[in-house]
């Protein structure tokens, strides 16, 4: 028998953790001599008060959906993929190569192949840690951390020595051709009479990300493969006894995870920057950890948590613009969310379980 009803596990615990993180963040803002209520107002206005704000919120959310799903898929197989950052960097390389090397007639074709390229590059970057975990038992957390740093070095080398246009000092590729420009939400929504902000970076990749959420939901809960992934995550000996090959599932789960992280590049490289720059990922790979924890590894949860973090990111940028609160406040909030929803989960869970048990005993 479960100690708690399911709704408490899915809704109540993340909510309490979030409130705790928010309270501590408010204390931090107080501590540096600013008014937390004014800060929240500014963040809500800046991130949700206009279509411009929404455009940025949704742009960030698109990134976080991809990286959050990447962490979630690996987590279902019992693996902690901390390498989303590196996989997304390599995904950017895949997108850049697809966009620069092939003359595209139309953005739809380019988007499909770029997403494929990003996925393949991201998956390839996850493949080596996955193989080492599956075959040699090398701890995937350590190897994926190492691969983040190796990815940064590889990207640095490629941008400085290979893809940098002649005569440019900036370590970045040249601009992608006009034909691969992805329509922004402004261009998508204008025909149906909605006037969305022109300068916001949210673009059609948002729909790709939402499609990815649906895909992951189908994969995890509606396919035999998803069942095998979850079985392995719950109990490796149990899965092996049921005839599930752990090597195969670890490889598949990590390849899907890496591909999802890599596909983030469709949004930030192809949709926003329209060229590949150094540090294009801006830490989104790590925010995926917080998003997946917050969303309880469920695609719909990831979707909501990604929008929440998109709001925090855009709101934080507005704070940095209008007050003396630096942008790093968001990093602190992110840390607190990871801490409370991840590491200190039991701190919230244990007292709640006691309360529910006491209530149930009272009823009987």
């Amino acid at each position: 028998m479960d100690k708690m009803p399911k709704w408490a596990d899915v809704v109540l615990i993340p909510l309490i953790s979030l409130i705790l993180a928010a309270l501590l963040s408010a204390l931090v803002i107080l501590g540096i001599g600013e008014d937390p209520m004014a800060a929240v107002k500014l963040m809500v206005n800046g991130a949700l008060g206009s279509t411009y704000g929404w455009g940025y919120t949704l742009y960030y959310a698109t990134n976080f959906m991809f990286t959050g799903l990447a962490v979630a898929v690996a987590a279902h197989a019992g693996l902690f993929n901390i390498g989303g950052e590196g996989q997304a960097m390599l995904g950017g390389l895949g997108v850049a190569l697809v966009c620069l090397l092939i003359p595209w007639p139309h953005w739809t074709l380019a988007l499909a192949v770029a997403a494929l390229g990003a996925g393949i590059f991201g998956a390839a970057w996850a493949a080596i840690p996955a193989y080492l975990q599956a075959k040699r038992g090398s701890h995937i957390v350590i190897t994926t951390i190492m691969f983040n740093f190796i990815a940064a070095a590889v990207l640095n080398y490629v941008l400085v020595n290979v893809l940098r246009p002649e005569g440019s000092m900036d370590p970045a590729t040249e601009r992608f051709p006009e034909a691969v420009h992805l329509p922004s939400l402004h261009e998508l929504l204008a025909p149906i009479g909605i006037n969305f902000s022109k300068s916001a970076p949210a673009n059609v990749s948002l729909l790709v990300a939402m499609g990815a959420c649906l895909f992951v939901w189908l994969l995890i809960w509606r396919t035999p493969l998803g069942y095998e992934i979850r079985s392995l995550g719950k109990s490796e000996p149990g899965a092996r006894y049921a005839g599930i090959s752990s090597v195969r599932i670890i490889m598949i789960a990590m390849l899907i995870s890496g591909a999802l992280a890599g596909m983030m590049a469709v949004n930030n490289v192809m949709g926003e920057a329209e060229r590949l720059v150094l540090n294009a990922t801006e830490g989104a790979g790590f925010i995926g950890i917080a998003v997946a924890l917050m969303g309880r590894n469920h695609p719909f949860g990831v979707f909501l948590a990604a929008i929440l973090f998109g709001f925090l990111y855009q709101g934080g940028a507005e704070l940095a613009l209008w007050t003396s609160i630096p942008r790093e406040l968001i990093v602190v909030i992110q840390a607190l969310v990871i801490l409370f929803t991840g590491a200190l989960d039991n701190m919230v869970r244990m007292p709640l379980e006691k309360i529910f048990l006491a209530v149930r005993r009272g009823q009987n």
Binding site: I145, M146, Y157, E328, A335
Partner: protein
Amino acid sequence: MEFLTIIQILDSTVRLATPLLLACLAGLYSERAGIFDIGLEGKMLMAAFFSAAVAAVTGNVWLGLLAGIASSLVLAGLHGVASITFRGNQLISGVAINFLAAGMTVLIAQDWFQQGGRTPSLFSGGRFTPITLPFADSLSGVPVLGPVYSELLSGHSVLVYIAFLAVPATWWILFRTRFGLRLRAVGENPAAVDTAGVSVVGLRYGAVMICGLLCGIAGAYLATALQAGFVKDMTAGRGFIALAALIFAKWRPWHAMGACLLFGLLQAIALRFQNIELGGIVIPVQAMDALPYVLTVVILAGFVGKAIPPRAGGQPYVKER
């Protein structure tokens, strides 16, 4: 290459290996006791900021060192509460600590000093100054051994010598004392330690706190000895290189020193030369940057001797009820 150039590179190797070594030994205590710690980076960063901040305000580097250690201990305590008391995921706790440090240091630095997330530059008194070993000046004329003594061994700050003395001390504590035996046992088989009537929780907290202490010294070294003040994200991945060195050394103190010196040498070479030509092939500087991580993956893969972590590492201990 000239002899003096080699001495200079080795000298900067020692300087750059010191923070790695301190953080690596810190991780050694924690992981030998069965608590994974990927938050070395965050603890170093926090200590770097508070040591520089307090040293800048008071002008006393020793107070700075104490403040750095204290701040690192707070984060270590947090890691302990999350991973020992509440039996949370140690890796996730480490990730959280890294972000907490990255954010808080800039936030507080901006609030206190308004210099864009850095502390004011430290002047004499606020920094650890080089110590000249006895006879270093008079012996520098002796061929070969003279420069080795006066340039390479002499002229480092006190924290460098502490770091290198910590290696035999760690070896002795881990392998020659009762505490060390129990600490290693709690990382391999906590249930056995518990059966023997020794507190698993107490031992693990002890190890995590030693880890915090050493990370604190490492951070203070970065901000008050290697450089003169704190800048945003100044640890620059050193905590992860230390983690790599720890695996490379297979969780052994003397090997940890070897690994940290090797990785320090790579950093020193990358700092001095941009691209290296070896027999007509140019090795790009990025390859030098990536080498510690690549080596670690190779070691982890077990192609060159297998790295086996402490058996109970990463698992919270639940006492039988």
